[in-house]
């Protein structure tokens, strides 16, 4: 960070603090990037569950008790909203992040890519939920 060091000339550096709050587009951008923290947090919740499972029944039941706690349930509800926002934004920006797809010599429109992605996510959601739903007791 050479450019951040104090300089005898004291050049004017435009402050960048809170730059993204001034434009709704960048607020959405920051919200989208922040979903990564929720994805990481959820991975750690599962990782801790796995390590507890490897420790034995008592440790695992302790982890389950934490999951049943109202604080955990509330945090997961917030996480669910963030995760759904991640899903939507992931496919919303997909037309820009993916190389163009050409079908019959025509480039597939961006909104079609987004719609197919969201439909796939809804399909996977239903299949996984129904698969778990159908597990016999």
């Amino acid at each position: 960070m050479k450019d951040m060091q104090p300089d005898a000339r004291r050049p004017y550096v435009r402050p960048m603090e809170g730059w993204w709050r001034k434009n709704p587009f960048f607020v959405r951008y920051m919200a989208r990037e922040l979903t990564a923290l929720v994805v990481a947090a959820y991975a750690f919740v599962l990782l801790i569950g796995l390590l507890c499972l490897a420790q034995g029944e008592a440790a695992y039941n302790g982890w389950l008790a934490v999951l049943r706690h109202p604080v955990s349930l509330s945090l997961h509800a917030v996480g669910l909203v963030a995760m759904a926002y991640h899903t939507w934004t992931w496919f919303e920006i997909m037309p820009k992040t993916m190389p163009p797809i050409v079908v019959h010599g025509k480039r597939v429109a961006g909104h079609v890519v987004t719609a197919v992605g969201v439909a796939a996510a809804i399909g996977v959601t239903l299949v996984l939920f129904l698969a778990v739903w159908g597990i016999k007791p």
């Binding site: 990037e33 919740v45 990782l47 997961h76 995760m83 899903t87 996510a121 939920f129």
Partner: protein, 123 residues
Amino acid sequence: MRKHSNARSNAPIFWALFGAGGMLSALTGPVLVFMTGIAIPAGFLLSPDLMSYPRMLGFAQNFIGKLCILAVVVLFLWHAAHRVFKSLHDVGIHPGPASKLACYGTAFAGSMLAVYGVVAVGF
């Protein structure tokens, strides 16, 4: 003229892990959070028994179960690590060895623990 290095960049690897984790979490993240974090613990729509110790042990000891656990934990972590690493720039923390180590190092440590976990849980 700048001399071009023949050494390959490691960026495509991190980008690929970011993309794979982003896609997997976009497709499965919401329903997984709902089922493991809300529905099953609260007994809402799904039975709490679905995540009982014997059931989860059986799942984690199954080869395909191990692969599912590893895919979710490892890819979610690398997706998040790459996105946070790139976004730190936007809040004034410029990319450097320290932020790179913090982000990718966390994902690496978590991945190693996940590998340890699926082995330690038995077969």
